[in-house]
């Protein structure tokens, strides 16, 4: 009898504590919603965020990877090994690692091109395995080697992507024109993709992935093959996209780009996440350390 009473008391206490926490959180949210918040992003840059966006960041995780594993050759080669990773909404996240570390395999699992052996991936709360269509609608993906339909014109490809992502006719033309202009593709849009250079294909794939204004961009080595101007424009686009509360997750070998652009980076090595955090956090306070040095130290082990 006494044990039961004690148990009930314990439960009540727990509930009261939870309620108190919730109330505190609500007050915090209210405060942030009214005043906004300045937080440290990418190195020592301070950025003021509006209250509503901070709220979304706090309550929603855009990519939630749990215990993800994938192996090839009947388990002989572990490409991704028990990966846990959370990417927040509004974050520009750089995914780094040496060749063959498991970056592309992870990305392909996030977008549903590969099936994980174990683990789960949720995009904005939607499990990619359980509700793939819903999850895919929230993403725009550009692979490292964009193999497109050679016998469609660039414009036909973009129109096709707009159709399958159900981009409304009212905004379709404006967006397509914007990206054609931005990536300098206007004079090639009527030509078959067959005649495009690698960079032009990359830009066409990028435009196709951005058309439906997805909450999450996933870009695998997006700078490869782009000329300096296009790369610069893309970096601006990525930043702007995040500033609107969306998320960008991209893999890269160019550490300078990651250093300058990313809110946080994750370093993967032999299929395992070996470091994650803002660049400053990875420096452990030593401002002289470049990302390259950190990267080399971590991946040398």
């Amino acid at each position: 009898m006494r044990e039961r009473l004690q148990e009930r008391k314990c439960r009540k206490e727990k509930a009261a504590k939870k309620l108190q926490e919730r109330l505190q959180e609500r007050d915090q949210r209210k405060e942030i919603a009214q005043n906004g918040l300045s937080i440290l992003v990418s190195g020592n840059r301070l950025q003021k965020y509006s209250g509503q966006r901070i709220l979304r960041r706090r309550v929603r995780i855009m990519i939630d990877i749990r215990n993800l594993s994938k192996s090839y050759n009947k388990g002989q080669v572990k490409a991704v090994d028990g990966l846990n990773l959370k990417v927040n909404r509004g974050e520009l996240f750089g995914f780094l690692g040496p060749n063959g570390a498991g970056k592309t395999t992870t990305i392909k699992m996030i977008v549903g091109l590969l099936n994980p052996d174990t683990g789960s991936i949720a995009i904005d709360g939607t499990d990619i395995a359980k509700e793939p269509i819903e999850a895919k609608r929230k993403m725009g993906y550009v692979p490292d080697e964009p193999v497109l339909y050679e016998r469609l014109t660039g414009l036909e490809y973009l129109n096709f992507m707009a159709d399958v992502y159900r981009v409304p006719a009212s905004v379709r033309k404006e967006r397509i024109e914007r990206y054609l202009d931005m990536f300098n593709l206007k004079d090639a849009a009527a030509d078959l993709i067959k005649s495009y250079s690698h960079g032009m294909r990359q830009k066409t794939a990028l435009a196709g992935a951005l058309l439906h204004d997805p909450k999450l961009w996933i870009l695998d080595e997006p700078m490869v093959g782009l000329d300096p101007k296009s790369a610069h424009l893309l970096k601006n686009q990525m930043r702007e996209h995040c500033d609107k509360g969306n998320t960008v997750f991209f893999s890269t070998h160019v550490l300078e780009v990651a250093e300058k652009l990313c809110d946080r980076v994750g370093i993967i090595h032999k299929g395992k996440l070996i470091a994650i955090g803002a660049i400053d956090e990875l420096r452990h306070g030593d401002q002289k350390d470049s990302l390259e040095k950190i990267f080399l130290e971590l991946t040398d082990q």
């Binding site: 977008v111 096709f160 399958v164």
Partner: protein, 558 residues
């Protein structure tokens, strides 16, 4: 010499996927059966043809023996083999020398043009053995055994079989190299594939029409060939190497040796000459062909607006994509659209070729009899369904996506919708075949309109399960790794399996129709029975297609 040899080794390795096969046999043990099965299917399907050819050659030999010219069988075989190699070699050489995917990664290697051409030539040569040996070996054995030749004959024949494709291939190479130097064919590559393909289809029609003229019993065959000696002589005189090879092989003593050496010498001289010419001009034509021209037309806002249209549903967008990719790829057009209308077209060609044939006149006459008309309509239905079942569009629909399969996996469109679009595209092609048959039957055979409409409706219903089952096969086991469109469509096992399944379905439908007729029911009842069975098969096959697609698309990795 060493780089050249290792280049040849690499070329042969790539051409026969030796490394890939080794990998498959040592690592992917589960998939071992695939190449073995493909090999067995090819051998088994070619055996009857080989038996027929051997029988034909035996008749030629006995015909020649009667006239005291037993070597006629050799001359015939060499003329035939070398002409086949020459004709097919032209397109083959063009593809290998100028359009193969690896050519641009080979050019920067420290190899001379003649070494590159030499390496590529050897690959073609080795491939041509697959054609030349089946054509030459039976007659060589027939002659050797029939005239009890000694060891020297067999030794010479071995050498001659190895050398045989060199002369026609060297001539084909010279023609191609010189032609490419003068005309920039690369620009018209797509057109070339279509024209070449249509020429081949018509050539095969002609051959099949000619074959109908060959008498059926052995005696008549002997006489037929005896009367055609002048033909062999004529071709032989225009293409003397065939005669040299035949005389070099069959003749004993000095004269035989002379012809034998003449054949070898001419082969060597032609080969060296071809390599010399290639060394001079190969790069110029190759590099000119690599220049890509674009229209570079800047689209205005209104033009973009016009081209974008209003936007459609995902299924319709996928269908539009399927259709555009198909009709813009010459090889797919040839094996899909052209293939689909080839059946009814063949009927038309035969009709015009044998316009004065009394049998045909009798048939046309009998069509006036209202008793006969329904049976002819039933026959038309058979042709329609055959046409619908034989095209490769459905059975390679998913395979054709190849490396672009990542798009299918990435887009937020269900597997069901994706296969629906593929089904519709394949069904359209089948429907074109059905309607083409209707048109030819109505125009040429004057089939009464009502019966034609009836047959067309049942044909259109019957095409549903054919397209759905063919597509199901491809969805079940797509061939997504390929390097050329040829591999995706023509060298795809699913195409063959699809045809087999179509045959089975056609047999079921035929059995249903005959069953109805045997029961003494009217022909209309047979039509109705085929329609009902087709509808049931359609429902079942579409249901199975959707179920398999959901599972397979989920499992598929890109």
């Amino acid at each position: 010499m060493k780089p050249f040899l290792s280049f040849i080794k690499m070329q042969l390795n790539v051409n026969y996927s030796i490394s890939a096969l080794k990998y498959r046999f040592t690592r992917e043990k589960k998939k071992r059966w695939e190449p073995i099965l493909i090999g067995m299917v090819i051998v088994v399907s070619l055996l009857p043809l080989l038996a027929l050819y051997t029988a034909l050659m035996l008749s030629v030999f006995s015909g020649g023996l009667m006239m005291g010219q037993p070597e006629m069988v050799l001359a015939t075989a060499f003329v035939m083999a070398q002409l086949v190699i020459l004709i097919f070699g032209i397109l083959y050489i063009m593809g290998t020398f100028y359009f193969s995917k690896d050519i641009m990664s080979v050019v920067p290697l420290p190899l001379k043009p003649y070494e590159i051409i030499g390496g590529k030539f050897i690959v073609v040569l080795v491939n041509e053995y697959l054609t030349s040996i089946p054509l030459l070996l039976p007659p060589i054995i027939i002659f050797g055994v029939g005239t009890s030749q000694g060891v020297l004959y067999w030794l010479k024949s071995l050498i001659i079989m190895v050398i045989a494709p060199v002369i026609p291939l060297a001539i084909a190479s010279l023609l191609v190299i010189l032609l490419m130097r003068v005309v920039n064919i690369a620009r018209y590559k797509d057109l070339l594939v279509i024209v070449g393909g249509i020429v081949l289809i018509f050539a095969s029609f002609m051959v099949s029409a000619l074959m109908q003229n060959i008498p059926e019993n052995t005696k008549d065959i002997e006489q037929f060939f005896a009367s055609q000696t002048s033909l062999v002589d004529m071709i032989g005189s225009r293409f003397p190497p065939a005669i040299w090879a035949a005389k070099g092989l069959s003749g004993g003593g000095l004269s035989g040796a002379e012809y034998f050496l003449l054949f070898l010498g001419v082969s060597a001289v032609l080969l060296v000459f071809m390599l010399w010419v290639a060394n001079q001009v190969f790069y110029k034509a190759l590099l000119a062909g690599q220049e890509v021209s674009r229209k570079r037309k800047v689209l205005t806002g209104t033009q973009i607006d016009k081209r974008l249209g209003r936007g459609t549903s995902p299924v319709l967008a996928l269908l539009k994509r399927e259709w555009k990719l198909m009709i813009r790829t010459p090889l797919y057009v040839l094996n899909g659209l052209v293939g689909s209308i080839a059946g009814p077209l063949m009927v038309a060609v035969l009709y015009f070729m044998r316009g004065s044939d009394p049998e045909l006149a009798m048939m046309a006459e009998s069509l006036k009899d209202p008793e006969v008309v329904p049976y002819v309509a039933l026959g038309c239905l058979g042709l329609m369904l055959f046409t619908a079942g034989m095209n490769l569009v459905a059975s390679t629909a998913l395979s054709r996506e190849g490396k672009t399969i990542w798009v299918a996996k990435m887009i937020p469109v269900t597997a069901r919708q994706q296969v629906d679009a593929k089904f519709l595209c394949s069904y359209f092609v089948s429907a074109i075949g059905v309607l083409m048959t209707t048109l030819i039957m109505v125009v040429l055979l004057k089939l009464p309109i009502l019966w034609a409409i009836g047959a067309t409706i049942v044909g259109l219903i019957g095409s549903v399960p054919l397209a759905a089952l063919n597509l199901l096969i491809d969805v079940f086991h797509p061939k997504l790794v390929w390097n050329s469109e040829q591999e995706a469509m023509k060298q795809n096992m699913n195409g063959g399996i699809g045809m087999l399944i179509s045959f089975i379905v056609l047999l079921i439908m035929a059995a249903v129709a005959f069953g109805a007729l045997l029961l003494g029911l009217p022909v209309t009842a047979a039509f109705a029975a085929v329609a009902v069975v087709s509808a049931i098969l359609a429902a079942v096959s579409l249901f199975a297609l959707h179920a398999v697609a959901e599972k397979k698309y989920r499992e598929m990795e890109a």
